[in-house]
Symmetry: C2
Subunit: 546 residues, 2 copies
Amino acid sequence: MPLGGLGEVGKNITLYECQGDMILVDCGIVFPDSDMFGVDLVIPDFTYVVQNKDRIKGVVITHGHEDHIGGLPYLLKEVNLPIYATRLTIGLITNKLEEHGLVRSTKMVEIAPHQKFKLGCFTVEPIHVNHSIPDAVALAITCPAGTIIQTGDFKIDYTPISGGPTDLVTIAEYGEHGVLALLSDSTNAERPGFTATEQKVGASMEALFSRAGKKRIIIATFASNLYRVQQLIDLAVKAGRKVAVSGRSMVNNTQMALELGYLHAPETVLIDIEDINKYPPEKIVLITTGSQGEPLSALSRMAAASHRNVRVGEGDFIIISANPIPGNEKMVTKVVNGLLKLGAEVIYESMYDVHVSGHACQEEQKLMLTLAKPQFFLPVHGEYKHLKKHAQTAAAVGIPEKNIYIGENGDCVVLSADGLTVGEPVPAGAVMVDGLGVGDVGNVVLRDRRHLSEDGLVIVVATIDARTGEVLAGPDLVSRGFVYVRESEKLLDDARDQVRDVLGRMSAADKRDFGSVKTRIRETVSAFLYRKTKRSPMILPILMEV
Amino acid sequence: MPLGGLGEVGKNITLYECQGDMILVDCGIVFPDSDMFGVDLVIPDFTYVVQNKDRIKGVVITHGHEDHIGGLPYLLKEVNLPIYATRLTIGLITNKLEEHGLVRSTKMVEIAPHQKFKLGCFTVEPIHVNHSIPDAVALAITCPAGTIIQTGDFKIDYTPISGGPTDLVTIAEYGEHGVLALLSDSTNAERPGFTATEQKVGASMEALFSRAGKKRIIIATFASNLYRVQQLIDLAVKAGRKVAVSGRSMVNNTQMALELGYLHAPETVLIDIEDINKYPPEKIVLITTGSQGEPLSALSRMAAASHRNVRVGEGDFIIISANPIPGNEKMVTKVVNGLLKLGAEVIYESMYDVHVSGHACQEEQKLMLTLAKPQFFLPVHGEYKHLKKHAQTAAAVGIPEKNIYIGENGDCVVLSADGLTVGEPVPAGAVMVDGLGVGDVGNVVLRDRRHLSEDGLVIVVATIDARTGEVLAGPDLVSRGFVYVRESEKLLDDARDQVRDVLGRMSAADKRDFGSVKTRIRETVSAFLYRKTKRSPMILPILMEV
């Protein structure tokens, strides 16, 4: 049962059930769409997980990105389940659970490639895969019904920075023994060819380091891409530059990775951000967050000249080592414009090869399909267009179309050697998190926020004598987000006169029926303001009884 | 004086002044940023134009796109100026002015390449250029100070669908005689190479038409790209298909273009959208708006299965013949997902070459610079990053850096053979249009809309006895866009108790000072709700006096 991650990029979570036992794979978040006003993040609906909590043996995590681990704190607040993950992933989860005070109550079990472990009737083998974060694994999940391979996020890098290429041998062995189903990463299903090796970024960066000459080098990239960070440290050492990091997640991640041995740097190379101005520009490499133009990130603060330690100017050579995630293009452009205006040289175009994807393109997806040789194929991790393309790729390498299923969140896909059927759907959906509130913002609240954001509101307030129906105070009109009040006094005065007329025409008895008074006020003011402005602010009549 | 179009993509407008005479070139709009909640469109600030209206001899328009003509109705409501434009452009402007009831009061003068005309001390020669709309011109503006060439939007297409290539000869002639300054289109300044010819789209489309086989073909593109529409009509004729159009602007534009002779179609080929279901799918080509995923467009309605005449299904072959404009990617993806789910085959990837840009890339910009040989160069039409790149391109072809100026809206650039200086800036900025209101939505209103959109609002209302300070009714709390009221009754009840406590602790005299009562209420409720929810809704205390 995919409870998230289908028809969307994010909040990946899959529930497996066999002979009454259950396991979960991953538990991610997705960032809100632009129409989810004020929402901080979106987590999966855990209803079905909570209903079945006594049968779930554990949560197995494929890697430490937000769309695979971000939902864990919210899950663990509802059900206490053991977490199974590789070492770096456990480090990242621990940081996250600490913020929510959940570390002590959570059992975490370190797993590693080639080390099978049992959860109820399931045997799980982690399989090393390449991705844009170290310690990522695919999972071979064997149960009485057969073996399922879930790739997690993966690509195939024959010359990775460390850890070796995706373990094609183990996948091929499972394929030889028979794989019931493959659930494979669809993120790059639209891209032909192969994703380039991470080393290509190193080569481009080396050329850019030399082009930077005497300038200070500032590089923005994803804080979790420790391969990228490692390459930048190595290049800095070679160029005789010191390395500083900026941005909370970059500081946390590099520190943890150094402690756990996922990053290596000579001790004298790393310096504190507070100290960068003690060195000449040509002796500095600054690695920072903000490659997506996030408004509060370190790079955005540099572009707005409000970073505490870094003043960007003509002596800076800035590289944005990431592509904008769809939806972030304008934010990135704003940051680039800001940095350019300050006089910096900025490398942001894709032609400089300063970024490679962490996901498999079509040829890699074909290789995975060919080695795993699954009876059934379910494309996962992607919007419908990605899943559809991946299904077409699978058909192209010979998976019969009847054995390919494009699912939706909440589907109950029943797999056995006899065939694939789809049972009754289970609860699955999006739960919005806003501040401390989980799920207390829903469609009604969002509809109001949208309405308020487009045209603002006009409040009509009046105090009415409960006995006589006489209007004792008001009607008064208060507006916010509608028009400049100072320039629109007449408009609001005229609207108030309309309300007065309405109230004047109603009998004392009518006026004691607040429901109909409010309806009349709302209709009158709404029609009047639309006629005058072609806008429809929210009209909120409030009547008080004395 | 550039009054718009610098540091932004849109609302192009430039004011020229020489010996007391003035002319305007173009008058466009820009679509609002995502943080301009509820704003329909943004026009230039006409303050300086209005101040100088008696000296302005006319408005010369380069071509009929919204970012060059969209602001005209708003300008003409403030000052009555004659418009000079080519034939198709006048047609498009007329449609626009009709909606605002401005056709009769506006003098429009048809201009054409090679036909010079005088406006005060200015002599203007329109020069034919290629763009994604017919009848586009650059302008050679000669005045006692010298000749300025403003390219408008342009590219160089050696094999255009009609009208011939950009008139390089005339530009070269002006270059030979001496050009004081060049103002050139920077939109594609980041792209190396040449923009491909529009004919390439035709070739790709022909292959796709044949691949569509027995399916109905639906193509979304820009309504103003009549070259594209012409090619589609020609291909439909060749394939024995009828052509229907959908979407208001597509219907209006094709009808006008047929009447004016900018589109040619055998009479029996074009059919009404109402009649498309009378033909088998393989006999239909439907050309529609919605290539940017605009929520109310014809293609979006097809994807949502709510189009009045078109039900999309497995028998449809849909081509999106446009690239998403930055910011529109997610909307386009939503439409693509919807169409795919309905079973249609959808061609939307850039690799199919179903779209080419209408703007010059770096090599074309170099050609323009080389032929015009300007003394001074001002990159225009683009964000800062585009202008900067274009400036670098100009420097690369030999324009001295001191003769290149990256301006801002409102700059007063003084040009003469002796040099380029920048005088006192003039008023220039963005005026927001929301419904019928022009400029009545500003930063305060937008700030409120943003605040309301993020956390909603809580209204605290109470009626107070003017004489005794006694609270006669309330305090009551009303919230919108904050939390689900039904699930948060206790939260709002507790907040009300806090307000009661505050009022209870105040003396009768204190309570008659409404200002300080409101402040106390706001602070109390705000702090309480933030502590409980980590959210900051707008708090709006309203007190009534009886």
